[in-house]
């Protein structure tokens, strides 16, 4: 393995981070928040210094990344990104404890939205902006951005490894022959949809900074609220707009590309999209029946149910109401939605709808083959036979998914909270949602956990966002063997 490649790669990632901090610096300057200005200036200087040093040390690195280096690059760069990204919180003194700040920014980059802050409104505008912007950047992925813009990535060894490691889903492919073009298309769709979302929010008379932050949280399916009650105090119009956009950002982006290519039939027949819509509709109907009578009118009931279902299935984590007060059946559905997550190739987290489809289909096949041992049966997805390698990977993914949940649950339980709190905290962090139930419910936060639990939960968030393996390989001995 070549450490220089990784070093130069990190230098590029850090440069991008520093550049993206500039708007936050500008906003702090505009509002005259000098502590925040100083914090961003220092952080940018530190990042630039580190990036320059890495560039100098690693300038002779070869260009081609192999599968192992690609995997390691993804894992390490997300960790490094978070280590430096939380510095503004610490330096400005707004989140003085480093581990708290680290948890907060990991929660941002992984688009989780779990917070340790009890009073969000006390944050200064620049810090608030950076916190929400981390969702936007983490949603589509920093490395995908690097692929799209980095000078020289045009004909160098950036092949599939990076996209595969950072993009969610069981079977990641390119949209067009060129990696750079694929990455650009994804980002252009992402940017355009974010802008439309912002315009809709501004039309609802939302102040512009709040509109930006809310749209970033929606687009990345992150869910950092900028009010202490998240979205509850906003008008029904804004809540409905956010519901729709959350659902839109939970759809596989290649569907939007197909729409642009005018292949409407392919989109309509997409099995994952159909199942996603089906789950959303059924979940809303069941919850509405279950909670009917809690809210004044049927309209309000449907609005809250729809908002909650979309915020959970897309793993966003905004809240309009405290669903921890709902009956047990609704909470059970919410926990199921937490695990399912959004579509592959979207900005959402979770197990992914397509993976659930594969698992269900392969379960069905196993039953058929148990009853008819000589039957040869492939598994079809959108009419195509799915290769056995992908099915194997999906099964391995499920195994890793369950083991990590159980392991983290046991460690987090050291803090002596209720089982419901601990389990939903792990589910919520690992699936990049944000709120859980009981003591980590929509009206509460993660501030009461110990430092160890916070680190474990932060690792869960990273593992969940990067689909486990890029983080898991960092702990594997064979990775570091020469």
């Amino acid at each position: 393995m070549n450490y220089r490649i990784i070093g130069r790669f990190l230098a590029q990632i850090l440069t991008i981070e520093a550049v993206f901090m500039l708007p936050a610096l500008g906003i702090s300057l505009g509002y005259g928040e000098w502590a925040a200005v100083r914090a961003f200036l220092f952080t940018i200087l530190i990042i630039t210094a580190v990036a320059l040093t890495l560039f100098l040390i690693c300038r002779k690195a070869p260009n081609a990344l192999d599968a192992r280096e690609g995997m390691i690059c993804v894992g390490i760069s997300w960790i490094v990104l978070s280590l430096f990204g939380c510095l503004p919180f610490v330096i400005s003194g707004e989140i003085p404890h480093y581990i708290d700040a680290f948890f907060e920014i990991v929660s941002g980059f992984t688009t989780t939205g779990a917070s340790i802050l009890s009073d969000v409104e006390a944050l200064s505008p620049g810090i608030l902006y950076w916190r929400s912007f981390s969702h936007w950047l983490g949603g589509m992925g920093v490395l995908v951005f690097l692929l799209a813009v980095a000078p020289g990535s045009k004909d160098k060894g950036f092949t599939m490894h990076l996209l595969r490691a950072e993009s969610p889903g069981p079977d990641v492919g390119k949209l067009v022959p060129r990696m750079r073009k694929t990455a650009s298309i994804l980002y252009i769709i992402y940017i355009v949809m974010t802008i439309i979302n912002i315009l809709f929010l501004l039309a609802g008379k939302m102040p512009w900074l709040e509109a930006l932050c809310t749209a970033f949280g929606t687009a990345g399916t992150g869910g950092f609220g900028i009010k202490n009650d998240s979205m509850a105090s906003y008008s029904p119009y804004i809540q409905i707009v956010t519901t729709v956009f959350m659902l839109l950002f939970g759809i596989n982006f290649s569907c939007y590309y197909l729409l642009l290519m005018k292949q409407f039939k392919a989109v309509l027949k997409d099995e994952e999209l159909r199942m996603y819509i089906g789950i959303v509709v059924i979940a809303i109907v069941l919850i509405v029946i279950n909670i009917y009578g809690t809210y004044g009118t049927l309209g309000e009931t449907i609005r809250h149910a729809a908002f909650t279902v979309s915020t959970i299935i897309t793993t966003t984590g905004y809240g309009t109401t405290d669903f921890d007060l709902w009956p047990a059946f609704s909470k059970a559905i919410i926990m199921f939605l937490m695990i399912v997550g959004a579509c592959a190739g979207s900005t959402g987290g979770g197990l992914k709808v397509s993976r659930l489809l594969y698992l269900l289909k392969s379960l069905g096949r196993n039953i058929t083959q148990m009853l008819n041992p000589r039957r040869v049966k492939g598994i079809r997805y959108n009419g195509q036979i799915v290769s056995e390698r992908i099915l194997d990977n999906t099964n391995a993914y499920l195994a890793a998914y369950v083991s990590i949940i159980i392991f983290s649950f046991i460690v987090v339980s050291l803090d002596n909270n209720t089982i419901g709190t601990n389990f939903t905290a792990v589910l919520s962090c690992f699936n990049n949602i944000g709120p859980g139930l009981e003591a980590v419910g929509p009206t509460c936060n993660f501030g009461h956990y110990s430092d160890l639990s916070k680190l474990v939960l932060a690792a869960d968030m990273l593992a969940g966002r990067l689909e486990i393996f890029p983080i898991l390989v960092l702990f594997s001995r064979s990775t570091w063997k020469r």
């Binding site: 599968a67 045009k154 004909d155 950036f158 092949t159 599939m160 490894h161 492919g173 390119k174 067009v176 022959p177 060129r178 990696m179 750079r180 073009k181 290769s387």
Partner: protein, 452 residues
Amino acid sequence: MNIIIAGDGRVGSTLARQLSAEGYDLTLIDSNNSVLQTSMERYDVIAVHGNCASMATLRQAGVMDADLLIAATSADEVNLLCCSTAHGLNPKLHTIARIRNPEYIDQIYEMRDTFGLSMAINPEKQAATEIERLLKYPGFLRRDIFAKGRTEIVELRVDEASKLCNVPLMEMAGIVKCRVLVCAVLRDGTAMVPRGNFVLQAGDRIFVTAPTENLTVLLKNLGIITRRVRKVMLCGGGRVCYYLASQLKKAGIQVRLIEADYNRCQELNDLLPDAQIVHGDCSDLEVLESEGLTDFDALVALTGRDELNMILSLYAAGQGVPQVITKLAEVGSRGVIDSLSLGSVICPKELCCNNIVRYVRAMQNQTGAAVSVHAIADGQVEAMEFLVDENTNHCGVPLKQLKPRPNVLIASITHGSRTEIPNGDSMFHQGDTLVVVTSGRGVIHQINDIFA
């Protein structure tokens, strides 16, 4: 430009590597999924699994938006059907088919219209042509042709007996008595673009730019025997051998052909009435002896096995055969091959790819891009041909007033039918052809990149 490559075999994947590195958008089609996976991992391309002659697969590969289709599967008929189907779907599409069966060769021109082909390539026939060209000028290891055949870059090996050994380049003109230019030197595996005070040593391989009409003078003054090749021994009776034998026959060169398979011998005897066909196994070197190897002017090793071809060439060179040419299917590592004295090495796959790449560049050539690019000196140096047009800067300015980029050399200027090896007072005008040599990869994309 969108290019579809049907058939991800040897030629297909070599093309994928080269064309994707040059910045074209490639889609590969193959019916074998595992080769596609490998190509996707290695190169920046997208792959479609399926039969390349079926409309559904072609549509899925984006034939409607494609500019060029290259059909390089192992079957000629599939290639033809693929091109003809694709052309039917998208009439603006350029198509290139690989056609190898000798029975189709005579009808290729008629087939181009029938099947909507823009170009048909035959790697074996090309290899034969290339070998014939080398046999015409024994002494050169390789010849690259520019400016419609008016300029060439030839490769020579400097050995201890050579007149050029230990001579600085600026004194070379006095020895060869014609204007030529050493544009690249390969020493110990490293290529360099030399200056005037560079002293040649034994073991160097030099790349010389010369007007084609000066080649004979050059050889004569270097003391390299320009005895005409009259008798050639061909080992292995495959397709290349058939094409080569029939071409050599036209040039009046006597051919003796050794083939191990008796039925093939009879077939060849039928096809090549003038050739002497010997039924024998080339791997048995006694056979070569008994056929009088040392009386031949040249030996061409053309069997289907690379290892055997290399051994045959080494043996023939050791026996003192004046010219040896080796065909290799795979030139994995040039460095290893060059350390052996295999004479000239011909790789049909590479020739075929270079030809296609030239076609692709010509298609792209609207904005002063290179008309053709030849990789010389183990691929470390590129020789490019440019056309000077109205958008070219510095027309009519003496070269001494211009500052070319580092590692870039203008090797020749062709005005009309006259090729000039440039000096400080030379200048180029609209309509001229320039040959430019550079050792920096990817530095020059169009003609105006030559100068800083």
